[in-house]
């Protein structure tokens, strides 16, 4: 049985995205019946998470897997067990897939070198968050009328790109889907070499709308970034980098990986507006993660066979 790690979307190809999202569609429509029956999925979260942890757990259970959850609290992780030792333990206990969330970039790749189980990166530091980007594409494809409609759509990624693993996954994913991307952030929240992605940097959300963005993808601003060292104030941030009602004309769509700081990245009246895909993003999580689990454990092949 062939397993496959899901570590990063860097260098992802359009065909892979299309087939993964197609499988997610099949999961959502209940066309795969318990593909993970008899498999063991272990959720190892070395960092707090609500929606990612819950949606992976739901995805695994609905797919018929046995699920083991390790969180920081109440496990050997809290006793200081190293990442590698935890992974080796889970491997010997017979895990078929390990879903890993960790505060350091590269943790998932390191774990993958120490287990034959499939490692699925559920977010590693400021590195990657591949299932987030997949569910974003799934949601956006739905909203635009199909995966092929993504091609040529302009998306502005707004906010703290520097500290964002979501940005590092959605940029290659959006690019592989054929979207045109711009970044909107102050220099204090961009990598020094923002040109690393060869993307334009726009001065404000207003500027992004002027540029023709059809999608405004706002990133979460962590509380500890709001103290004045990198941005002067919430009001200045919201004024130039916050998505407001005035940006919603002409069918602009709003996305956010959550949790939203209302009134900071997105004004309160926009979060649940009709143009907001945020609830749909959350809803897409289970189907997309079911598909990823099925692909990772090789179950998708078995079902197809």
């Amino acid at each position: 049985m062939e397993t496959r790690d899901f570590l990063t979307l860097e260098n992802v190809e359009r065909g892979d995205l299309r087939s993964t999202l197609g499988l997610a569609r099949a999961c959502a429509e209940g066309r795969l019946r318990e593909p993970l029956a008899g498999k063991t999925v272990c959720l190892a979260f070395f960092e707090a998470s609500t929606r990612t942890a819950v949606s992976f757990e739901l995805a695994a259970r609905r797919s018929g897997a046995d699920v083991i959850s390790l969180s920081e609290k109440g496990s050997a992780i809290a006793k200081g067990e190293s990442l590698i030792d935890t992974v080796v333990t889970l491997d010997r206990l017979g895990a078929d897939a390990i879903v890993l969330r960790h505060p350091a970039a590269g943790a998932a790749a390191l774990a993958a070198r120490h287990t034959t189980a499939a490692v699925i990166n559920a977010g590693d530091g400021c590195g990657q968050h591949p299932t987030q980007a997949l569910l974003d594409l799934y949601t956006l494809g739905d909203a635009l009328g199909g995966f092929d409609e993504l091609s040529g759509t302009r998306v502005a990624i707004v906010g703290d790109v520097l500290h964002s693993r979501v940005a590092r996954s959605v940029i290659p994913a959006f690019r592989a889907a054929g979207m045109e991307i711009a970044l909107v952030a102050p220099r204090t929240l961009l990598p020094l070499d923002a040109g690393a992605w060869n993307l334009p940097v726009l001065p404000s959300v207003d500027g992004a709308v002027e540029w023709g963005a059809g999608v405004l993808y706002a990133l979460r601003l962590q509380k500890e970034r709001m103290t004045g060292a990198r941005i002067p104030s919430i009001s200045e941030y919201a004024r130039f980098y916050g998505v407001a009602r005035r940006h919603l004309e002409e069918g602009v769509l709003v996305m956010h990986p959550g949790p939203v700081n209302r009134g900071v990245e997105i004004s309160g009246d926009v979060v649940l507006d009709g143009s907001s895909l945020i609830p749909a993003q959350v809803a897409a999580g289970t189907a997309v993660r079911s598909a990823v689990l099925a692909l990772a454990t090789g179950a998708a092949h078995e079902v197809a066979a």
């Binding site: 102050p186 004045g228 941005i231 002067p232």
Partner: protein
Amino acid sequence: MNGRDGRPADLIVRHAHVLDPSIGLDGVTDVRISGGRIAEIGDGLRGGRELDADGLHLFPGFVDVHAHWRTPGREDEEDIESGSAAAAAGGFTSVVMMPNTDPVVDRPVIVSGLARRVEKESSVRAHISAALHMGLEGERLTEMRLLKEAGAFCVSDDGLGTASAGVLRNGMLYAKTAGLPVILHCEDHSLATGVVHDGTFAALAGIPGSPASAEDAATATALVLAAETGAKVHITHVSTALSAALVGFFKGRADVTSDTTPHHLTLTDELVCTLEGLYRVNPPLRPDNDRRGVTEALRDGVLDFVATDHAPHASEEKELPLEEAAPGFLGHETAFAALYTELVLNRTIPLSRLVEAVSCGPGRWVGGAGSLRVGSPADLTLVDLSEEWNVERGALLSRSSNSPHLGRRLTGRVAGTIVGGALVYDHVGARFGIRS
């Protein structure tokens, strides 16, 4: 006086020796001003009012990117009216006001209020520098994008160095985002623990000294960060030969410009011997080898231009022992004469370089000033290069009198200053009357 169509009639400045290195002008000719702008330069111009400038030199208006007009908060020392009067008397047609006032210029509402007051009260063009950090404390960034919308021209934590390189780096990055230049006062506080230059005279007098490294280390840090971040950075009051050389190294490696002051070009730390509070300034007066190094750097264009750091202080803050006195000198009214007397008359630097350093260079930095090119704003300075005068308390228009040149005799006096075609300073009065 208005012409028949109600617009001010053209003004012709006749027979001045016009010197403007920015357009290669150096000779006696006439200049016509129309609609507040330079309309024409040439011999035998006719029509309109005339100003007889025979025997005077005419330069593009001087520009001072470093002034403390103490408003708001210390209007007893200077206000916009007296500060701009002093600037005009020194031939300055544009200045940049520093934000270390009380309250500090760190909020958009303070900038917009100041901008309104400048409009009403200043006789010269006055740009507002807002603070780089709230309260100049080097912790929280100011709302630079909103400050810019309110009218801020640049940002600076002048008077205080920024304590941490990490904080300064983020400040530069954010200023770049806001599109504002940063003016930096480079001083490392872990080194700058004294009140005068840490040299022979401090040692002999027993006054605590701050070493040159306090400036040099901070200047090096600032330059490295400017090169890395790509921010537009101006390093003000360079006072050591090493800092000047560091600036030179980073030319072409960073978007950086620099200035030095008339006092660091003309005075040395020998004045520490007087033990007089008047001579305390920051950065401190340096030994003669630094003064010469800085002068050569200015002559060669390594340092771009001159700024005065005009810093008025009440007499009760200056008539004190050195260690207790407030640091700072008046600068506007003596700048040109001191530099002409000390550096041009003895042929250390040519007059044309001095004009570049007080006018063209800083004019380019603020944009659209410091040039007599046709179409430019008619900001002009008329100078009598032969007039000798004594620097005396009664002769100064500043509300304060803490000039380090008090009691000295200087050569070269500003005769008239024109801003946007309007005469805002007229030293010679009657002789200078404009004939219709």
